[in-house]
Symmetry: C2
Subunit: 101 residues, 2 copies
């Protein structure tokens, strides 16, 4: 159904290209993943694949780090955002439920 994952969300970019675009080192990018700030896909053989959206998030993370924010704090913000997303999702399913019940 939701076959049309937009170009922005499709995880198809290797870490080398991400490095080049963001200016961040591979080490940093992998570290932010370890700290659960970013979630690349993996190919069967284990290479990381990022989306343009991931790249945007990496730039935001980099800014915060430069401002002295710790990865732990950054993660909290992400969780908060996701909670909002979840609420939206629940509202949607609520509406759908009502519509058909």
């Amino acid at each position: 159904m939701d076959n049309s994952q937009s170009y922005r969300e499709k995880k198809v970019i290797g870490i080398g290209t991400v490095t080049e675009i963001t200016g961040l080192s591979n080490r940093k990018i992998r570290y932010y993943e370890m700290r659960k700030l970013i979630f690349p896909d993996r190919t069967p053989s284990g290479t990381r694949k990022y989306s343009f959206s991931d790249i945007e998030r990496l730039m935001e993370i980099a800014e915060k780090i430069e401002d002295g924010v710790q990865t732990h704090e950054i993660r909290k913000d992400i969780v908060k955002k996701e909670k909002h997303q979840m609420i939206k999702g629940q509202l949607n399913s609520h509406f759908h439920t009502n519509r058909y019940s």
Copy 2:
């Protein structure tokens, strides 16, 4: 100025991923490049990078090949399209020239 190359046009995808998405073999993809049907970027070390737009074009090429169209013919169509683009571009620069002269 035109920094905002859209996600669709940015050449950031490796040939392995293109293979996976299109279902075409590396051999085919490289062959279509040799026949000047597709124009990936190259990293400094020589690896090919494709855009989502390239992937779309590859699928179109694959369809035509299956229909028995030869690469030579497919290239003609591409040149024809580019000519139309050029005309559009000339019209644009014509308008701009007028506006400021």
